[in-house]
C-alpha cells in the first residue's frame, strides 16, 4: 500500500462506512433531537429572562445577571460533567442526554438573554415614549413596538451563538449520549478504522451547513429600510 492508498483506507474505507452508516444516521437523529430541544428551550428561556429583566426590578435583575454571567463563564463541558457526575450525589441522576440538554440550554439561555437584552436596550427611548403617549401599556409597547425591532437586530448574533452552542451537542459523547460523535467514536473502536469519523464530520456538515445558510437568509429577510 502506498501512502495515498493508506490515507484512503484510513478515512474513506467504503466497507467500514457502509457497515456503520446506520449507526451514524441514528447518531444524527439524536443530535437533531438534542439540538432542537436545546435551541427551543434556550432561546425561549433567554427571552423570558430578558423580558423579566426589562421590568427593572433590581434584586431580580442582579440575580439574572449573576446567573447569566455564571453560565457564560463556565465551559459547557464542565456543566455537563457537573450535572451528570455531580447531581447523583444528591439522588438526582439525569441521563447523559438530559444532562447535555440541560447544560447547553443553560448556556444558550445565558448568551441569548444578553443578546436579547442588548437588542431591547438599543431601541431608542423615543419609541417607548411615542407608544406610551398613545396609551399603550408597558407590556403592549414591549410586545408590539420594541420587541419586533429588537428581535430583528438580534438575529445575526443570535444565529451565530445558537450554532456555536448547538455544536456543543458533540460534548454529550463524554456522558455516553449516542449522538453523532459518540456513535462515530465507538464505530472507530470497533472497526479499528477512523473512517466513521469522516462520516461523523460529514453528518455535522449536513446538519449545520443549512443552519448557517438559514441564518444568512433570515438576516436579509428581516432587514428593513430605516
Amino acid at each position: 500500500m502506498n501512502s495515498w492508498e493508506r490515507f484512503v483506507d484510513a478515512f474513506f474505507n467504503v466497507k467500514v462506512m457502509a457497515k456503520y452508516l446506520p449507526d451514524i444516521a441514528y447518531g444524527m437523529l439524536v443530535t437533531v433531537e438534542l439540538a432542537a430541544l436545546v435551541i427551543a428551550a434556550g432561546l425561549v428561556t433567554g427571552l423570558a429572562l430578558a423580558l423579566v429583566r426589562s421590568l427593572g426590578f433590581r434584586p431580580l435583575n442582579l440575580l439574572i445577571i449573576f446567573v447569566v454571567d455564571l453560565f457564560r463563564a463556565l465551559p459547557p463541558l464542565v456543566i455537563i460533567v457537573f450535572i451528570y457526575f455531580g447531581l447523583p450525589a444528591v439522588d438526582i441522576a439525569p441521563s447523559g442526554f438530559v444532562s447535555t440538554w440541560l447544560s447547553l440550554t443553560l448556556v444558550l439561555m445565558a448568551f441569548s438573554e444578553e443578546i436579547y437584552w442588548a437588542g431591547i436596550t438599543s431601541i431608542a427611548k423615543g419609541q417607548w415614549e411615542a407608544a406610551r403617549s398613545t396609551g399603550l401599556s408597558y407590556g403592549q409597547t414591549l410586545m408590539h413596538v420594541v420587541l419586533p425591532q429588537a428581535l430583528r437586530l438580534t438575529i445575526p448574533p443570535l444565529t451565530n451563538r445558537t450554532i456555536a452552542i448547538t455544536k456543543g451537542t458533540a460534548l454529550g459523547t463524554v456522558v455516553a449520549v449516542s449522538e453523532i460523535l459518540g456513535m462515530a467514536s465507538s464505530a472507530v473502536s470497533n472497526s479499528y478504522n477512523p473512517s466513521p469519523l469522516t462520516m461523523g464530520a460529514i453528518a455535522y456538515l449536513i446538519l449545520f451547513f443549512p443552519m448557517v445558510i438559514f441564518g444568512r437568509w433570515l438576516e436579509t429577510k428581516m432587514a428593513w429600510k430605516r
Partner: protein, 251 residues
C-alpha cells in the same frame, strides 16, 4: 401670571416642579389651556419647555404640582394613565415612528390595542387620519420610504386618530429640512382651524404670530412672561424676553 381657573379649560397645570437629581428643571410652573386655544411656548434650550410638555402626559413624572387634563387628575394614582393618555396627543421632534410598520400600521396600533377597535374599524379611521394630513396615498409606505415632513405628518395622524382633546407638539419642525417645514405647519394650521386645543413648543415664530392665541416665554424653569403674540414679539416687558426675542429675530 396668577392662574385663575378658567371655565372650559382643557389643561390646568399648577405649581409644577421637576427635579432631575440636583437639577431643578421646573420651578413652579402654572399653565392653563382653554378649549380651542393654541398656546405657543418659547424659550432658550434648557429652559424646561419640553419637560413641562412631558409632565402634562406624565412621560415625565412631576416632582410636585397638579395636572388636570380634560377634567382628569393626571397625577392621581387611581387614574388609568393609559386611558387618559389617549386624550392627549403628542408629537415629537424626532417623529418616533415605528420603523417596522407601515404608515397605516403606525396610525392604527393604538386604535386597535388601546381604543379597542377591530382591524377594519382601525383601518378606516387610520386611512381617514392619513387623509387629514394629506398622506392618503402613503398608507402602505414604511417610515424609511417617507420624507421627514411626511414622517412627521404620519406622527400627527397617529395622534389625532385617537381623537385627543388636546395636542402637544414638542419642537415638531426642528429636525426637518427647511423646505419640509411648511407641510407640517400646514397640517398644524388645519388642526387649529378644526378647533383642536394645542400646546406648541417651537421656534417657528412666523407660525406663532399667525396661529397662536397666546405666547408663553420660559426661562430657567419658570414662565417669565406671557401674552398675545403681538405683546410678546413687539412689546415684551421683561428684559429676558426682550433679549431672547431679539436673538431669534436676528436669525
Amino acid at each position: 401670571m396668577a392662574a385663575k381657573p378658567i371655565a372650559g379649560s382643557i389643561v390646568q397645570a399648577r405649581g409644577i416642579h421637576k427635579h432631575f437629581g440636583a437639577l431643578h428643571v421646573l420651578k413652579g410652573v402654572d399653565l392653563l389651556l382653554a378649549e380651542r386655544e393654541l398656546v405657543f411656548v418659547i424659550g432658550p434650550s434648557g429652559s424646561g419647555k419640553s419637560t413641562l410638555l412631558r409632565c402634562l402626559n406624565r412621560l415625565e413624572e412631576p416632582s410636585s404640582g397638579s395636572v388636570m387634563v380634560d377634567g382628569v387628575d393626571m397625577l392621581d394614582a387611581r387614574t388609568d394613565i393609559n386611558h387618559a393618555r389617549q386624550r392627549i396627543g403628542m408629537v415629537f421632534q424626532s417623529f418616533n415612528l415605528y420603523p417596522h410598520m407601515t404608515a397605516l400600521g403606525n396610525v392604527t396600533l393604538a386604535l386597535r390595542k388601546v381604543a379597542g377597535k377591530t382591524r377594519n374599524e382601525a383601518d378606516t379611521l387610520g386611512h381617514a387620519a392619513l387623509a387629514r394630513v394629506g398622506l392618503a396615498d402613503r398608507a402602505g409606505h414604511t417610515p424609511g420610504q417617507l420624507s421627514g415632513g411626511q414622517q412627521q405628518r404620519v406622527a400627527i395622524a397617529r395622534a389625532i386618530a385617537l381623537e385627543p382633546r388636546v395636542m402637544l407638539f414638542d419642537e415638531p419642525t426642528s429636525s426637518l429640512d427647511p423646505e419640509l417645514v411648511g407641510s407640517v405647519l400646514g397640517v398644524m394650521r388645519d388642526l387649529r382651524e378644526s378647533g383642536m386645543a394645542m400646546i406648541v413648543v417651537s421656534h417657528e415664530m412666523g407660525f406663532a404670530r399667525n396661529a397662536a392665541d397666546r405666547v408663553v416665554f420660559m426661562d430657567e424653569g419658570a414662565i417669565v412672561e406671557e401674552g398675545t403674540p403681538a405683546e410678546i414679539f413687539e412689546r415684551p416687558v421683561q428684559e429676558r424676553t426682550r433679549a431672547f426675542i431679539g436673538q431669534i429675530q436676528r436669525h
